[in-house]
């Protein structure tokens, strides 16, 4: 049992991180903490992929001309490079939205935002909507 766990410690870490991340996303009311949770959750998946690509005894996948060299699988790493970019974009957009939420509601706590007088709209653009306004 212990040996089995020790043999798959990478997966155990992935699962722990994943649960921490998902818990933060679901349970925190602070929007920044939610976003932190999302990042942790995504990172756990990155680690999962990267550890998938490791071949026991394999070296870095750079061709050295020797046909007997055992390489690790580079494909998962490349995929995760893409996923990291996507993750950064998600975080950036999330932070930008949080900034705007803070401007509009004066809070980034979800329960306070819900309590805020949500019906009060921000001003509409100045330009009239054409003849329809009259």
């Amino acid at each position: 049992m212990i040996e089995q766990l020790a043999g798959s410690w990478n997966h155990i870490i992935v699962v722990i991180l994943m649960m921490i991340g998902l818990f933060l996303v679901i349970a925190r009311t602070n929007l920044i903490k939610k976003l932190v949770g999302l990042s942790v959750f995504q990172t756990s998946v990155f680690i999962f992929y990267i550890s998938l690509g490791k071949v026991a005894g394999g070296t870095a996948p750079i061709l050295d001309g020797n046909p007997d060299t055992l390489y690790s699988n580079p494909l998962p790493h490349v995929l995760i490079l893409t996923a990291i970019v996507v993750g950064v974009a998600t975080t950036a957009l999330g932070l930008a939205l949080i900034l705007r939420i803070n401007e509009a509601f004066g809070s980034i706590e979800e329960d306070e935002i819900i309590e805020a007088k949500a019906r009060e709209s921000l001003p509409r653009p100045k330009r009239p909507t054409g003849e329809a306004a009259e």
Binding site: L22, V25, L31, K34, L35, L38, F41, Q42, V45, F48, Y49, L52, L75, P76, L79, T82, A83, V86, A89, T90, L93, G94, L97, I98, R100, I101, A104, F105, I113, A118, E120, S121, L122, R124, P125, R127, T129, G130, E131, A132, A133, E134
Partner: protein, 498 residues
């Protein structure tokens, strides 16, 4: 030159919107950006129609990006199922773009319009790629392109209602969790099969010999797509997102966004896991069908108790997505083709309804709720009549497109002899008349408040709206094209092979 364009159509369908987007972001003139978007949307529609005419007889186009042979390179596959979905999405996307000019100028600042249309094209291009790609990881990338751009578009509703920001944020977070679930699933399947190409996966999964890893991978992939398709109980992002987004965005998302995710769900279940029916069929009949029926009822009941018109129809979308998922869950050719028929008809119905609501909102200068639209049938007769036609189509009145959907769905359910499901479908259809009646009564039968003048209607909004309304009647009277296309789509999906 012409031949080169035709052979590269699948790539162009994605590349053109994605390349036009940054150009549009640099434009300061709202009209120019809109023209550019219209050209992009129009050429996508033409490209989709050409693909449809090539593939309607069962031809399957396999496009190798950068000439890398699959399974090493990324492959785009267009068969009759893909091209039907594409025609629906590009067609409605084009009409939504036509109407967008007026709707956007009344809700978005002129200086932001260039960026707005850039995000608009990113959503479209991302969704077209999502539908065509046959590479499981590439699918995730397209999923996120369209999701990030949708979150931006939803958040842009903040100009008129600050709740749009929160809706956009929730959509972003829930969508990202869903997409990450999908990636986990792909990781498991990749570990089992060593490939990311869907066709390759499909061929190797039966050999991989079942096991827990396969089940878990399948579960994660499907769960991720359920979030994206807004199937009950993970639909919670949808009502807020659709109702606080700018009107033009509601139109676009309601018409095309969830449809793409539903199509991908079908691809995962029928194509990738088509070789292991013991996993796929059980998931469909024990998970998707109950969830679909749950969604139909929750969506309908929530719509009945809603006073805000946009939110009401957003809830109703949850119910309609349930009907589409139910058709897929039946796993019979009749059920799947009923699904495709409803994908097309629901895009027509909801596209029209949200466009009409956008017209009301633009004319009223306020949110449309049961109070503010009292008597609007007399104040804005042209828009309100088109709204009435789309509403009747939603209820499934004969001679409208919605009736064809219901007819084929009921026939498909009858074929499987599951009378409980049949009863539930009929009851929920009857319930949907409740909220539609509520609106129609307020709009047409109650007098407008005293001293409320006739509102000016803008042809830039009601002409595209009437195209959609006419489509609703056309496909209600002569559905032969749609039914034939949906049948061949079902054959392509269930026949195995990407």
């Amino acid at each position: 030159m012409g031949a080169a364009i035709i052979t590269n159509l699948p790539a162009l369908l994605v590349a053109v919107p994605l390349l036009l987007a940054p150009v549009s972001a640099l434009l300061h003139s709202a009209s120019l950006a809109w023209m550019l978007t219209l050209i992009g949307a129009g050429s996508s529609f033409i490209a989709a129609l050409m693909l449809q005419s090539i593939t309607e007889n069962g031809v399957r186009i396999s496009y190798h990006l950068g000439n890398w042979e699959p399974p090493w390179g990324i492959e785009f596959v267009v068969d009759s199922a893909t091209s039907l979905t594409l025609v629906v999405m590009t067609g409605l996307g084009f009409i939504a773009t036509l109407a967008a000019r007026r709707l956007v100028s009344s809700e978005i600042n002129d200086k932001d319009s260039g960026k707005f249309y850039a995000a608009w094209m990113l959503v479209s291009g991302g969704l077209f790629g999502l539908v065509m790609t046959a590479d499981a990881f590439n699918l995730f990338v397209f999923l996120e392109i369209s999701a990030l751009a949708s979150a931006i578009l939803i958040g842009m509703g903040a100009g008129t209602d600050r709740r749009a920001l929160v809706a956009g944020f929730h959509y972003l977070v829930i969508g990202a969790v869903g997409a990450t679930f999908y990636v986990i699933g792909v990781g498991f399947i990749y570990a089992m099969t060593g490939t990311l190409n869907m066709g390759d996966m499909a061929a190797r999964i039966p050999e991989a010999g079942g096991g827990a890893v396969l089940h878990v991978g399948f579960g994660f992939m499907v769960a991720g797509m359920l979030v994206k398709a807004a199937i009950f109980p993970v639909h919670i992002w949808l009502p807020a997102a659709y109702s606080y987004a700018p009107s033009a965005v509601s139109t676009l998302l309601a018409a095309i966004a969830t449809k793409a995710a539903l199509y991908v769900l079908a691809r995962i279940v029928f194509t990738i896991f088509g070789g292991v029916p013991e996993i796929a069929d059980i998931a469909l009949s024990n998970v998707i069908v109950p969830l679909a029926i749950g969604g139909i009822f929750i969506g309908t009941v929530m719509a009945i108790y809603e006073a805000d018109i946009k939110k009401m129809f957003a809830h109703s979308s949850v119910a309609q997505i349930g009907y589409i998922a139910l058709g897929l869950g039946l796993t019979t050719p009749a059920g799947v083709s009923a699904s495709f028929i409803h994908i097309a008809n629901h895009a027509l119905i909801k596209g029209g309804i949200f466009m009409a609501i956008g017209g009301f909102v633009a004319a009223l200068g306020a949110r449309a709720n049961l109070d503010s639209i009292t008597g609007i049938g007399r104040r804005m007769p042209i828009t309100a009549t088109a709204f009435l036609i789309c509403g009747l189509s939603l209820a499934g009145l004969p001679l409208t497109a919605g009736f064809i959907s219901k007819l084929y769905l009921v026939r498909a359910v009858l074929e499987t002899e599951s009378y409980l499901i049949l009863a539930l479908v009929l009851i929920s259809s009857a319930l949907s008349i409740v909220y539609l009646w509520k609106i129609m009564e307020v709009m047409w039968m109650q007098p407008a408040p005293v001293r409320s003048p006739k509102l000016a209607e803008n042809p830039a909004i009601y002409l595209p709206l009437w195209i959609v309304a006419f489509g609703n009647i056309w496909f209600g009277i002569d559905a032969s094209w749609l039914v034939a296309a949906a049948r061949s789509a079902a054959t392509a999906l269930l026949g195995g092979g990407v």
